[in-house]
């Protein structure tokens, strides 16, 4: 099987490449990058391939890699399945996703990991890398069988959705995980400071009378964990960084040479807590949408590399879990289909990143920190490729989402930057209609 992607602007930050080239895929791998038109015979005769994709005027880049999604399977197949979640990923240009362990049952043992990997092989449109739990049942008490989880294919551990509040357990998790050279991902939130808070504490929460979640709720845990990362020398990764203070501490930790990394979600750079004024429960998430001061800090963190990766925290929920009073609504939104458009619209159009940096935050940067063998167009690499139009305008219609859920605050948003084709392992798994 040969696919030729012709005449596109190939942006491959892993190899510092940005040039108009033909990309040849053979047997699931990147076979060659050549001068445009070189595959054609005399007089421009069409080349010998099974599939020819015209990428003239488009960008060809490694498929995106999302370090943070919730696929809900096993257990909550009414919200999302591995089939629907990976289809949404493919629509968004993602060719690999890391699946958080807060399924039902929790992915805290190799049987669940095996199930996810089997199901992903059977139903998955993109690569699925499971993340195991830090603690048994995510109860924050005893370590899960981390060795067996890694043996079965987990690439990191996290109790995501629940912070590890016990500092001693966090210390031991960091120490133990270093044995397998995997990151420990923290959902950084102090459960006591958050309490029953439902949105960012600031002017808007004051006006709306909602119980606020102070920025310090995230920052105190990040501060504590950085001290533990220093104590243990292990790899600590902050999930969905949302506050200026946490960004600053990660920056300082990196400057001091600690193995600390971070990701940010598109909604944390595209929206502020002002959005909650609508009482739309699709503006409710954990961590909450923050005020503009924090949003600017997240952008600055992405710009200077303090924040390594853009990760969606794709969190599907049923209609009945969202169409309720704000306090009772579930946290989180779906994000796979809007991530690239938001990145281009807010970060690139907004002058925070150039196109190449934006693609890096979605490809080689996340792969580097999680040591995933993806995110590159090097010859011989798995042919995971996205073809995108970075300037094309489109309107997101959540009613047509490939996800099983519809919980997005970006419905009706006009975005600049659209995914046209997604190729996984040399197979075109998704193409934009029309």
């Amino acid at each position: 099987m040969r696919i030729l992607i012709e005449g596109g602007r190939v942006i491959d930050p892993a190899n510092q490449r940005d040039a108009v080239l033909d990309l040849l895929i053979e047997d699931g791998r990147i076979a060659a990058l050549r001068e445009p038109g070189s595959a054609r015979g005399g007089g421009g005769a069409p080349p010998q391939t099974d599939r020819l994709l015209d990428a003239r005027g488009k960008v060809v880049c490694p498929g995106f890699v999302d370090l943070h999604v919730h696929l809900r399977e096993p257990g909550r197949e009414d919200m999302e399945t591995i089939a629907t979640g990976t289809r949404a990923a493919a629509c968004g240009g993602f060719t690999s996703v890391c699946a958080m362990p807060n399924t039902s049952p929790v992915n805290d043992n190799q049987t669940v990991t095996d199930f996810i990997i089997d199901r992903a092989r059977r139903d998955g449109l993109v690569n699925v890398f499971p993340i195991g739990a830090i603690s048994k049942g995510q109860h924050g008490e005893e370590l899960a069988e981390i060795g067996e989880l890694v043996g079965a294919g987990c690439v990191a551990i996290s109790d995501d959705g629940k912070p590890v509040m016990n500092a001693e357990l966090m210390r031991r998790a960091l120490e133990y995980a270093s044995l397998f050279r995997i990151p420990v991902i923290q959902h950084a939130e102090d459960a006591h400071l958050t309490g029953k808070g439902v949105m960012h504490e600031g002017r808007v929460s004051t006006e709306l009378g909602f119980k606020g979640i102070p920025a310090a709720s995230e920052a105190v845990i990040v501060a504590r964990d950085i001290l533990l990362a220093e104590l243990t020398g292990s790899h600590y990764h902050v999930a969905h960084v949302s506050t200026a203070e946490a960004v600053r501490m990660v920056r300082e930790a990196k400057a001091r040479g600690l193995h600390v990394t971070a990701e940010a979600a598109p909604h944390h750079f595209a929206l502020t807590d002002e959005a909650v004024m609508s009482f739309d429960t699709n503006t409710k998430m954990s961590p909450p949408l923050r005020s503009s001061r924090h949003v600017e800090a997240v952008k600055a963190g992405l710009a200077d590399g303090t924040i390594d990766a853009i990760a969606t925290d794709h969190a599907p929920h049923t209609i009945q879990d969202k169409e309720v009073e704000f306090d009772y609504a579930a946290n989180g939104i779906i994000g796979l289909e809007t991530a690239f458009g938001l990145t281009m619209t807010v970060l690139v159009e907004g002058g925070v990143l150039n196109v190449s940096q934006a693609i890096a935050r979605l490809t080689c940067d996340p792969c580097r920190i999680f040591r995933l063998p993806k995110g590159t167009l090097s010859v011989g690499a798995d042919a995971d490729v996205a073809i995108v139009d970075p300037t094309r305008e489109w309107v997101y219609d959540v009613k047509r989402s490939a996800s099983k859920s519809r919980n997005s605050p970006f419905h009706g948003w006009k975005l600049k930057g659209q995914v046209l084709s997604t190729i996984v392992g040399g197979k075109v798994v998704w193409e934009l209609e029309g």
């Binding site: 004051t206 709306l208 909602f210 309720v324 306090d327």
Partner: protein, 310 residues
């Protein structure tokens, strides 16, 4: 100008002219209460549903009497005796009520924004009778009405709101309402009961009741709730009363003609001493009485009445 809104969800979105219209309309409604036969046919054939997700005596009764004096059919639903205890969602309760063709649904709910959710779903007019710590617009309107009876020009007046601002919808609605009418607002209470960013609402903040009440025209005391003690927001009611209670000694620091208000229910001897609550400048019972006029005015305006401009 006339009334153009379908719903009354909060004071924050109202214009000063709209507030003026409600107050002026209430002035003519108040006269009905003084009649021997307290009934006018204005809302005959209209249905008002009181949907209360929290306990309430004065607000629910006030809406019920207001509706009945205007000849509306008033139905009370308290959620402890309804399908809500069977797990029915607010959406489904709302849609069920909609099928019964109410003209107005008055809702009280512990969550901010619940009336807004209902307003999106229902054709009926929604009146917010209190949503969590967000807004209680009819309370603020009746408070303004009560102040205006004693001080006809609201612009330039100073008010101090004292107590648990953090959890108070009365405080928020009054802050918005008073500011729109040109009043100056100061809030006072222990730091744990003032929102961390309260000054972003454009109010002055004070931690000393003695300073807070010294130069104001209106002192509004808020009820202090026992359960906040358990949450670690203040140590004891006794200490609270000692530091923030309004008693006769502190009254000596205030202006001699200061107006004393309280949305009720009051904790005698906690946030307000009995001598102050029952004293000559206390408007606490006027507030209750004026609540009827304000709610009659709103029911009238929301069902298509043209209002009165003084």
């Amino acid at each position: 100008m006339g009334w153009t809104r379908k719903d009354l969800l909060g004071v924050r979105e109202l214009e000063a002219e709209e507030i003026g219209l409600v107050l002026d309309t209430a002035t003519s409604m108040k006269e009905i209460a003084s009649r021997d036969i307290k009934k006018v046919p204005t809302l005959r054939g209209k249905t008002v549903i009181n949907l209360f997700y929290e306990p309430s005596t004065r607000t629910r009764t006030s809406f019920e009497i207001a509706g009945k004096w205007l000849s509306a059919d008033v139905i009370n639903i308290s959620t402890s005796a309804s399908s809500v205890v069977k797990g029915e969602s607010l959406k489904d309760t709302g849609l069920t009520l909609q099928s019964m063709h109410p003209d107005v649904v008055v809702i009280r709910h512990p969550v901010p924004g619940a009336p807004h959710l209902l307003a999106r779903l229902l054709k009926a007019s929604i009146i917010n009778a209190g949503d969590g710590a967000h807004e209680h617009p009819t309370q603020a309107l009746l408070d303004l009405f009560t102040i205006r009876e004693r001080r006809p020009t609201l612009t330039g007046l100073k008010a101090a709101i004292v107590g648990d601002i953090l959890h108070s919808r009365v405080a928020r609605s009054n802050i918005f309402a008073m500011q729109k009418m040109g009043m100056h607002v100061r809030v006072c209470g222990p730091p744990t009961l003032l929102p961390r960013y309260v000054e972003s609402l454009g109010v002055e903040k004070s931690f000393q009741i003695e300073q807070a009440i010294a130069d104001v025209d209106v002192i509004m005391m808020l009820r202090i709730q026992r359960e906040r003690m358990g949450a670690g927001l203040f140590p004891t009611l006794r200490e609270y009363s000692k530091l923030f209670g309004l008693n006769l000694d502190r009254m000596k620091l205030a202006r001699p003609d200061v107006l004393i208000m309280h949305p009720g229910p009051i904790n005698r001897g906690v946030e307000i001493a009995p001598e102050v609550a029952d004293g000559p400048f206390s408007l606490i019972l006027d507030q209750v009485e004026n609540g009827l006029a304000i709610r009659m005015a709103l029911l009238y305006l929301l069902t298509g009445g043209q209002g009165t401009n003084n």
